[in-house]
């Protein structure tokens, strides 16, 4: 893997690291305790590229728990809780925008 110094990651605002959990594919976010959380509100929000890269390294080093980690921009609510900043991330955190037909 390329060393952090050689890589470039430019973030332009509050950012979290997100991935899918290996065993069931569920959407997860890297939390303050270095573990994967199931809610975005528990995610570790960073604001500098160095911090984001550091978290991404932690995430990529942990292929057993979660896969496909990447940085995602978030918006912060007044109380500081992160909210998804893009439609894609909104759908990832709250599910499809369409109603299920299923009865099960």
């Amino acid at each position: 893997m390329t060393s952090p110094l050689q890589r470039k990651l430019k973030i332009s605002g509050p950012t979290v690291i997100t991935a899918n959990r290996l065993a069931d594919g569920a959407v997860v976010w890297l939390a303050n305790d270095g573990r994967w959380a199931e809610t975005l509100t528990r995610a570790n929000v960073v604001t500098t590229s160095e911090e984001a890269l550091r978290l991404l390294d932690i995430a990529h080093g942990d292929e057993r728990e979660a896969v496909g980690a990447y940085p995602a921009a978030v918006a912060l609510a007044k109380d500081g809780t992160p909210q998804p900043a893009t439609l894609r991330e909104k759908i990832r955190s709250s599910g499809p925008t369409i109603a299920f037909q299923a009865t099960a």
Partner: protein, 550 residues
């Protein structure tokens, strides 16, 4: 339908055991994600936005009722109670857990179905006409050859790590219902001088670089099917680009070399293997044919009294006009079940619907169901006298919307609501269109019109070949859509023409309606379809009206 024997059953068990072991090795960390990804893909397992997705292969679109019930069980037990039928005659489950996948696969294997080679850079599920074996316009049942190809391509030791995916489609009818010109290889069964053989087309495909397949051989005797395919695949495996994923499909190789030069390479390779072990003979074909159970249908009176009576009911008559197609045996019919209800996601089917449809298939269609390329289901063998009763039951299930082939029979990919590759959503657009065009009389008056929606350039909704094509593009986190007109997916396949700049999501349904209104005002009469009008007039008048009020 094809009846598996002990060899097929043993193979499927071995495949499930192998995958179970691979999952265990992945979970234990023995396999890296990079290594595992290729293995899971070749079993139809994707990692999507919210969960793993399992794509289950329905070989040549033919399902036995017990197989459909098994799909319903898997939907309930391992998923959220529904599945999604795709344009490649497959079904997808959206919410499966990796750790539970081997068990789900073992259940499917019990009834002879699986996800093998529904993804990955290998030879995918061979697709064909959903009306195969029932259509009056076919010269032979193409599923025999689809099965021959399935067996040859299953875990082919040489062609499982190709430059990119490889899709084959076969048609044996005058009317191409399998979109063979937009596949890596398209095969058209036809007769020449009393012999049966194939026209072979290569290099078709949609995606970001759409091409219509080109014929490299007008007539290939049927005995030579596999040797010729082996020659094509070998030429591609050795010569296809591997440096750029977007240029790795065979269509790029064919385009770069020219179809004639590519065909020459294939012929040279073929000359060396054409009389080899893969050459088919009548005995070999007969052995595979013997595995197909085809119902013995007696000729019955055409248009029996009960049907003639029912046709006096306008609602039944509307459904009959769209959903019922002629069968090769008198007194029978092919019935299409619309999975495009007003306001529903195109191609979705709940577990309860699957079970009920399986029961109806047993009662009315010799236990057989087909999956159509247009994301609908088909009962291939229904007695005409049963149509009124069947209609009532299909209505009750919500699969008798009288819109087959009409503006609301939309082909759509899952889009950003599920798909990790999508740029925009596509299902909500489909829902809006079906709601705007909910009036069955109005859509019947509009007539034949294919609307196709893709949520990204990978074109899983085949927007290039929609009479109206809709492609999602994202701009600064806003959903925009490009509109193309005049595409066709049949034997005379043609790519649609872009009519102007992308429009915001909120305007798509209005633009579609204006295009339809323009057609209605310009057509020579109800006999001229939307696509015929576009071909006669060109896109200009449509372009003007689509953008005029802006």
């Amino acid at each position: 339908m094809y009846i598996h024997d002990e060899f097929d059953r043993t193979f499927l068990k071995e495949r499930v055991a192998e995958f179970r072991d691979q999952v265990a090795r992945r979970l234990s960390g023995e396999l890296t994600e990079e290594e595992f990804k290729m293995l899971r893909l070749m079993n139809g397992v994707y990692l999507q936005l919210h969960a793993y997705m399992l794509r289950v292969c329905i070989p040549y679109g033919t399902l036995a009722s017990k197989q459909l019930r098994a799909l319903a069980r898997v939907a309930r037990r391992y998923d959220k109670g529904y599945g999604h039928f795709t344009t490649r005659q497959n079904i997808q489950f959206n919410w499966i857990k990796l750790a539970e996948l081997p068990d789900a696969m073992a259940e499917l294997a019990e009834v002879g179905i699986h996800g093998i080679q529904t993804s990955g850079n290998c030879i995918r599920n061979t697709t064909t006409d959903a009306f195969a074996g029932a259509a009056p316009d076919e010269i032979e049942d193409p599923r025999l050859y689809a099965e021959v190809i399935r067996q040859w391509s299953t875990l082919h030791p040489e062609f499982t790590y190709l430059p990119r995916k490889f899709k084959i489609a076969i048609s044996a009818a005058t009317h191409d219902r399998a979109a063979i010109r937009v596949h890596d290889v398209g095969l058209r069964l036809h007769k020449k001088d009393g012999r049966t053989g194939f026209e072979v087309m290569v290099g078709g495909g949609l995606g970001r670089t759409p091409y219509i397949g080109q014929t490299i051989r007008e007539f290939l005797p049927k005995e030579d099917l596999l040797t010729y395919l082996e020659a094509i695949l070998r030429t591609y495996n050795l010569g296809g680009r591997r440096d750029n994923i977007y240029k790795a499909r065979i269509k790029i190789l064919v385009h770069d070399l020219g179809a004639e030069a590519f065909g020459k390479l294939v012929e040279e390779e073929w000359a060396k293997i054409k009389d080899g072990a893969l050459k088919l003979d009548e005995a070999g074909l007969a052995a595979i044919r013997a595995h197909f159970h085809t119902p013995d249908l007696p000729a019955l009176p055409e248009k029996p009294a009960v049907l003639a009576d029912a046709l006096k009911d306008p609602a039944f008559a509307r459904w009959h006009a769209q959903s019922v197609t002629a069968h090769k045996v008198p007194g029978h019919a092919i019935v299409t079940l619309s999975l495009k209800p007003v306001g529903g996601p195109p191609g979705d089917c709940t577990a309860d619907q699957m079970d009920a449809i399986a029961d109806l298939a047993d009662a009315y269609s010799h236990g057989e169901v087909r999956v159509a390329h247009e994301q609908n289901l088909v009962f291939p063998h229904v007695r005409q006298q049963d149509l009124p009763a069947l209609w009532g039951k299909l209505e009750a299930l919500g699969v008798a919307t009288p819109n087959v082939g009409l503006v609301t029979d939309i082909i759509s990919c899952p889009g950003l609501d599920y798909c990790a590759l999508a740029n925009t959503r596509s299902i909500p657009i489909a829902q809006q269109i079906t709601e705007r065009f909910a009036d069955p009389e109005r859509i019947a008056d509009i007539g034949l019109l294919h609307v196709n929606i893709s949520g990204c350039i990978n074109a899983c909704g085949h927007h290039h070949v929609g009479h109206i094509g809709i492609l999602g593009v994202e701009k600064k986190d806003q959903e925009f859509f490009q509109i193309t007109l005049g595409g066709k997916g049949n034997a005379k396949a043609r790519l649609g023409e872009l009519i102007g700049p992308a429009i915001p999501e909120t305007e798509v349904v209005d633009v579609v309606e204006r295009l339809v209104d323009t057609y209605l005002s310009l057509r020579t009469g109800p006999g001229e379809t939307f696509i015929a009008a576009v071909e006669r007039l060109g896109v200009e008048p449509f372009k003007d009206s689509a953008y005029a009020p802006r």
